[in-house]
Amino acid sequence: MVAKSSTEEPALTILDPPRPVFRRKRFVLPFGVSAGIALAGVVALLASGTVALPFRGVTIVRAMMASKVEFFSDVEVRRILMANGIQVHLTDSGGSTEIAKERADPTSFDFVMPSGQLTARQIHDRVGGTPFYPFTTPLVIAAFSDYARALAHAGVAEPQPDGDGLYYTLDMTAFVGLTLEGKTWKGIEGGGLTNENQVIAQSPDPCRAYSGAAYLAVVAFAANGRRAPTEAEAAAVATRIKPLFEVEGQFGAGIGRTFFGPDGRTFAPLGVMYEHQYLAYQIRTKERTGEVDRDRVLLYPDAHHHAEPWLIAFSEAGEKVGRLLQENQDLQRRALELGFRLGRAGSASVGTVLAERGIPVGNPGQGDTEAHVAKPAALTTMIGELGDCPSGVPL
């Protein structure tokens, strides 16, 4: 048994020491790219203030409101608030008067934001809190353009001189007159409409929504010889305008969102909303498409009401949000871009924001807007007559 012996010496090749992992080309390139991206991201986050959050702590602020959720759910508003250490957790009340109800328990929130001063005052009188007045917005009627043109044809609406077809002034007395005589859209001679429904502006329930209550007040003003009904007159005026509210039967929900959707005409060809909802939509549309939507126009009632949503704070965190809304430049700028007018808080105007974007500016009308709205006691009487208030008349 012979073993094969080997005489060869093992040959050991000396290799260069391996390059450290992180210097290898296969590594450096992808790592460099991802690190670059991460760095850019961090820089962006630092700039926005977001990166500091995990270290600073975010205050969750709980809030209840109706149509003003549109402001607080805006991505840019959320970002600015987040940069200030605040995240707002929203409960949509569906209507401002809901906030005033006991069951809504407003003081359990850090703040509430009813859509207008009448409800706000009522809440404040009942449960207190610290009010802030960041912006205002006129009550308006939004319409599809063919309906507005039909009204103009009937001499009830008039295109505003520099409105480029987007804005009209609505003669409320004549408009209320059309409904009281039972006119249908199709019945407007030369109006070219086929809709056989009677002429009304669809309004949310005055028992539930601030805009509904405010619109009722504006109608009552128009139907009472352009004078806000007194408490003594309220019941009689309510009876006179009752047919106007019976046409719609059961009140619909607010059309602030649905009007702008593809099925907007079916929800309401003409309906009550706030100016900010319309302007925000047009600003957004212009940004996205380069054009405004000429099919949706705005009617400013000649009896006007400027709604002032109050932010009523019930905690320190709530007050911080209130102060930010009134003082923070970025938030004010964003409020303008969302179509609000800065009430007592600032001097910049929504007109500037529109003009910058090449969007025509409408004229909501001048004058003492409070004078157009009946005093709470009279308004309460009228809402009780015309609304559908299972849990009592608000205000």
């Binding site: 409960t91 009677q198 046409v247």
Partner: protein, 487 residues
């Protein structure tokens, strides 16, 4: 190099991290029965938010009654909160999640005739036996009730929300003639349609039900969606918070359901329209859906409609007592013939309908002819359309009371409609008639032309709950339409 990388990663992770996932919660939901189709969407909801929704299915009308009486669920999710509001209950916190209009799904082969149809066109075809459909029971289901409201509002033709006084006469029977089967809810009517698709032409349901049927692969002939152009009823599926202490979880659910991703998922899986206008819609959901309907404001209206619904399918009988004396010559007899042609061939809500028995009693100085037509289909309607075309007039007087006496003998539990232009000058006197029929039971309407003296007619008509309608000012057809369906 390594240290900065670690720092970067740490920063990036921290910046991206959100608050910790909330605890899992289960909420009970009294939900419209068709929402069973949301299963996969709700599974995603649970995965993303930790909230499980346990649906307890119920027709929306039924659910609204239960809600008004009080239930133990955490949330409610009906097709609409309008029925709940009609009960007078205070509607809790509500957020609309998605939308679907009430439509007709009509077999493609039958749909051309209903292109751009109004509710009147639908009712007319149904009455003639040319449109047979299934619809959900309006006592239980929101879709069934929405159909009744659509038809009745269009039939009232006021351009306003239906009021109780607008539905004193029943204009629903023509439409309801077409109803072949019912079902307990919007989803069930779809299932029933699959089983009975060879018997019927259409289904009255939500757009989402019709599109889902088309996508199911279970139909031998696809359905085309017909949007009644004069009165769309939209369901907007509000999610409602019943237990205020569940508000945090409710808000989480609503936030999630209204994200573009969830809205898209709902649209793709269930064919409901997203409420978020930014979500791009599939081709089938881009159809403009026409004029919306003003929704009735009182409970009373709904009760009246349900009573009319319960009468559906009873074999109606109407006796027309028609003056053929020579004074009717010319425009009057022409108007009468035209009215019968219209009611037989196209009369919208007032058309003669399948199942109805129409008795024609022609008279002058005596009863000249009695002819009875049981409407079973197109041939009978055509016979009625021409029944008066060659009928001759006679100059032997006007025996109104004798003719009415004859009608009462054949009317059974039906209605009598008398048309005359003269005063009684032959046959029975008014006194003799009233002696013979001291308490006439058949509801009686009289349509008067020209000089006919209505005092005694009016007395008789009112005694039966009917009345005299004057055709002097308007067309005879309008006068007939005014009392069609009144009983």
């Amino acid at each position: 190099m390594r240290a900065p990388a670690v720092v970067l990663v740490t920063f990036a992770v921290l910046a991206g991290c959100t608050t910790a996932k909330p605890d899992p919660v289960t909420l009970t939901v009294l939900a419209s029965s068709e929402l069973a189709d949301l299963g996969p969407v709700l599974a995603d909801l649970r995965r993303d938010t930790g909230v499980e929704l346990k649906l307890d299915p119920r027709g929306t009308v039924r659910a609204s009654e239960e809600l008004a009486a009080g239930v133990d669920h955490d949330l409610a999710w009906p097709a609409t909160n309008r029925y709940l509001r009609l009960t007078g209950a205070d509607v809790p916190l509500s957020t609309s999640i998605m939308v679907s209009p009430l439509v007709l799904g009509v077999k493609v082969g039958k749909a051309d005739a209903l292109r751009d149809a109004s509710w009147a066109d639908v009712a007319s075809r149904a009455a003639a036996g040319e449109l047979r459909f299934g619809m959900a029971d309006p006592r239980v289901s929101g879709s069934g009730m929405a159909a009744l409201i659509g038809v009745a509002t269009a039939a009232a033709g006021t351009g306003a929300a239906l009021r109780a006084e607008d539905v004193t006469c029943d204009k629903l029977q023509g439409f309801l003639t077409g109803r072949v089967f019912g079902a307990s809810g919007a989803a069930e009517v779809g299932e029933e349609y699959v089983k009975r698709q060879d018997e019927v032409d259409a289904v009255v349901a939500y757009e989402s039900t019709v599109l889902s049927l088309n996508a199911s692969g279970q139909l031998r002939e696809p359905l085309r969606v017909v949007y009644p152009r004069d009165g769309i009823v939209l369901s907007d599926y509000p999610l409602m918070l019943l237990k205020p202490d569940k508000r945090a979880a409710y808000d989480r659910v609503v936030d999630w359901l209204r994200t573009p991703a969830a809205q898209r998922s709902i649209m793709e899986r269930t064919h409901r329209r997203p409420v978020d206008p930014q979500v791009e819609r599939g081709a089938a959901l881009r159809e403009p859906i026409g004029t919306g309907l003003y929704f009735p404001g009182t409970r009373e209206v709904v009760d009246t409609l349900l009573a009319a619904y319960d009468r559906a399918g009873r074999p109606g009988r109407v006796v027309f007592v028609l003056d053929h004396s020579t004074s009717m010559a010319g425009a009057r007899i022409a108007g009468l013939r035209e009215a019968f042609a219209t009611l037989s061939r196209a009369g919208g809500f007032d058309r003669f309908r399948v199942g109805e028995t129409v008795v024609l009693v022609r008279f002058a100085g005596t009863v000249m002819e009695e002819r009875s037509v049981v409407v079973r289909g197109g041939a009978d309607l055509e016979a009625l359309a021409v029944a008066l075309e060659t009928a001759e007039l006679a100059d032997d007087g006007t025996a109104i009371w004798s003719a009415l006496d004859h009608a009462y003998r054949v009317v059974g539990d039906g209605t009598v409609v008398l048309m005359t232009d003269g005063e009684n000058n032959a046959g029975m006197s008014a006194d003799e008639f009233l002696a013979a029929w001291p308490r006439p039971s058949a509801r009686t309407y009289a349509i008067r032309f020209g000089e006919a003296d209505p005092v005694e007619l009016d007395r008789v008509a009112r005694a039966t709950g009917g009345r005299v309608v004057d055709a002097g000012s308007g067309s005879l057809l309008e006068a007939v339409k005014e009392i069609r369906g009144c009983r």
